[in-house]
């Protein structure tokens, strides 16, 4: 088929397209059904978060951070709060650390559930989406009973939390885990090992290991290529070094390492691991304790700059913060994981069919709010 040359055609995918997961435009150059190059056009959701951040006090940036990656707000809050705390050199109480980890990992499960459901939708499986949202709803209920919000929480603050967990939260979370852990098998039966799904995703859009590292692809997408690397284990922040869990890496069950199926499957494995972490954190959660560290009313980090990175559901979320000693940041740069992951699409989606581009894009699990900022 590839010997027959036809005239090249430019095809616009998006900005309004169900499989672009937001407002993203892909300029595809196609030769018949085969895609020869992919050029993403970004910026439809650009709000210049970094300029806003320069005009707000340090704690005031958190609601903006929430809105960057709206599927993983807790992880964003966590990353930003830790970045500022490292700068200030303060330690937060034990109890705060545990609650933060519980929320960050619940959020990771919720985010991966959306990725799992929408990836199914992308390749034509509608039902898994409903299953994913059934469980995600329970996590959102837990968040709602804690801080009143279901999507944008503003819960993890610099030096602590906005408030303590409500009575009954721990029992309800245990009940959720009890319900959730057996569901993973259901997802695998429904989608992971489904013949049609495997045909669509295995051995499609391979991302070799060194290409992934050079493009700065991180998170589950990097691990799917066989790189055993997770910031939670390899550069432990918060209290991740206290838990017993495994880093999920791609397996060559149906296709090569680094294909779409692996990028999907690593997320399923990670949900399992996150559930393990939540369970251990709940077991060891200190009963008593304040949820605010003793920090000054006005936060003034010393003059200087610091780059801090943490593991977001989509990869390495970095904050490069420059301080001039004042109460507002001089510069905040957010190293967005989804932006770097999307950068690789031209490399891996060229020479595949148009339908495969949809699968490849879906497997990269992008959130446009964070790419455009």
């Amino acid at each position: 088929m590839r010997d027959l040359r036809t005239e090249e055609m430019t095809l616009n995918m998006g900005p309004q397209h169900p499989s672009t997961h937001g407002v993203l435009r892909l300029k595809l150059r196609t030769d018949g059904e085969v895609v020869t190059s992919v050029e993403p056009v970004l910026g439809y959701l650009h709000r210049c978060f970094e300029k806003h951040a320069e005009n707000l006090e340090y704690p005031g940036v958190i609601p903006f951070v929430d809105r960057c990656d709206y599927l993983a707000s807790m992880n964003n809050d966590h990353g930003y709060a830790l970045a500022v705390e490292q700068f200030l050199d303060i330690e937060v109480p034990e109890r705060v650390e545990y609650i933060r980890v519980i929320f960050a990992e619940l959020q990771r499960i919720a985010s991966h559930l959306v990725a799992f459901g929408t990836f199914g939708l992308d390749v034509g499986a509608f039902t898994p989406f409903l299953y994913a949202f059934r469980e995600r709803e329970m996590i959102l209920d837990l968040f709602e009973m804690t801080c009143g919000a279901r999507l944008l929480y503003n819960y993890i603050w610099v030096g602590g939390l906005s408030h303590d967990i409500p009575p009954g939260f721990v029992e309800k979370t245990y009940r959720f885990l009890e319900h959730f852990e057996p569901k993973i098998k259901e997802y695998n039966d429904l989608l992971t090992n489904n013949k049609i799904f495997i045909e669509r995703t295995a051995d499609v859009g391979m991302l070799p290991r060194d290409v992934a590292i050079s493009y700065g692809v991180t998170g589950p997408q990097l691990r799917a290529s066989g790189v055993d690397w997770d910031l939670r284990r390899d550069e432990p922040y918060s209290i991740y070094d206290r838990f017993d869990w495994k880093v999920a890496v791609g397996v060559d069950a149906y296709g090569e390492l680094g294909d779409c199926w692996n990028r999907y499957y690593v997320k399923i494995l990670e949900m399992q691991e996150s559930a393990k972490i939540v369970r251990q954190a709940l077991d060891n959660l200190p009963v008593e304790g304040d949820v605010h560290a003793a920090i000054p009313k006005k936060i003034r980090p010393p003059e200087g700059a610091n780059y801090f990175r943490s593991e977001n559901p989509r990869g390495e979320l970095g904050f490069y913060i420059v301080s001039d000693g004042g109460t507002t940041p001089f510069r905040v740069k957010m190293r967005s994981p989804a932006l770097s992951n999307l950068g690789v699409i031209d490399e891996i989606a060229s020479d595949w069919l148009v339908a495969d581009v949809v699968a490849i894009l879906g497997s990269l699990d992008i959130v446009l709010g964070e790419i455009d900022r």
Binding site: G43, I213, E316, L339, G343
Partner: protein, 168 residues
């Protein structure tokens, strides 16, 4: 390797291009001349003792009209040796050119475009240096400290937000 070791070896090799090694700040960094950057970048990536295969982040910083300086900050990491280094390059605000390292680390492709988009820093040798997030016909570079929003864009009024402070 510790950051001091990295500095010593770099200073041996590229003495002329290295301006400063700051070992005191929270995040230690090496400041270099723009002209030597491409050679240093290639060396940092290729040399087996360094093996900086991962570029974590590129950040532009505008020091404001008073200081009349702009900076590009590169955070590098080695997956093999698990060591880190921060490289800083500074230059004048009006006309700041930095060699592009897009061919060394592919991540730099979009991150350099973003830095150009927001600060107007020109990366020489970049194959497609154009705006990444803003429309191509947008005026000015938003993250400069003295940035003024244009009044109209294609006949649409651009909303203005009053900043509390613009220059430090």
């Amino acid at each position: 390797m510790t950051r001091a070791d990295i500095y010593t070896r770099l200073a041996d090799q590229f003495g002329d291009s290295i301006v400063e090694f700051n070992d005191e700040s929270l995040q230690r960094y090496i400041r270099i001349e723009p002209s030597g950057w491409y050679a240093i970048a290639t060396f940092l990536k290729e040399d087996p003792d360094f093996a900086f295969d991962s570029l974590m982040c590129i950040a532009g910083v505008d020091r404001g009209p008073k200081e009349d300086q702009m900076e590009v900050v590169y955070a590098l990491f080695s997956m093999t040796h698990r060591h880190k280094i921060t490289i800083k390059i500074s230059g004048p605000r009006a006309d700041f050119h930095v060699p592009s390292v897009e061919s060394v680390w592919r991540l730099a492709d979009w991150h350099e475009r973003e830095t150009y988009d927001m600060f107007g820093i020109v990366f020489d040798g970049h194959r497609r240096l154009k705006r990444l997030l803003l429309p191509e016909d947008w005026e000015g570079f938003p993250l400069r400290k003295d940035y003024q929003v244009q009044d109209y864009y294609h006949g649409i009024r651009v909303p203005k937000i009053k900043p509390k402070k613009l220059t430090p």
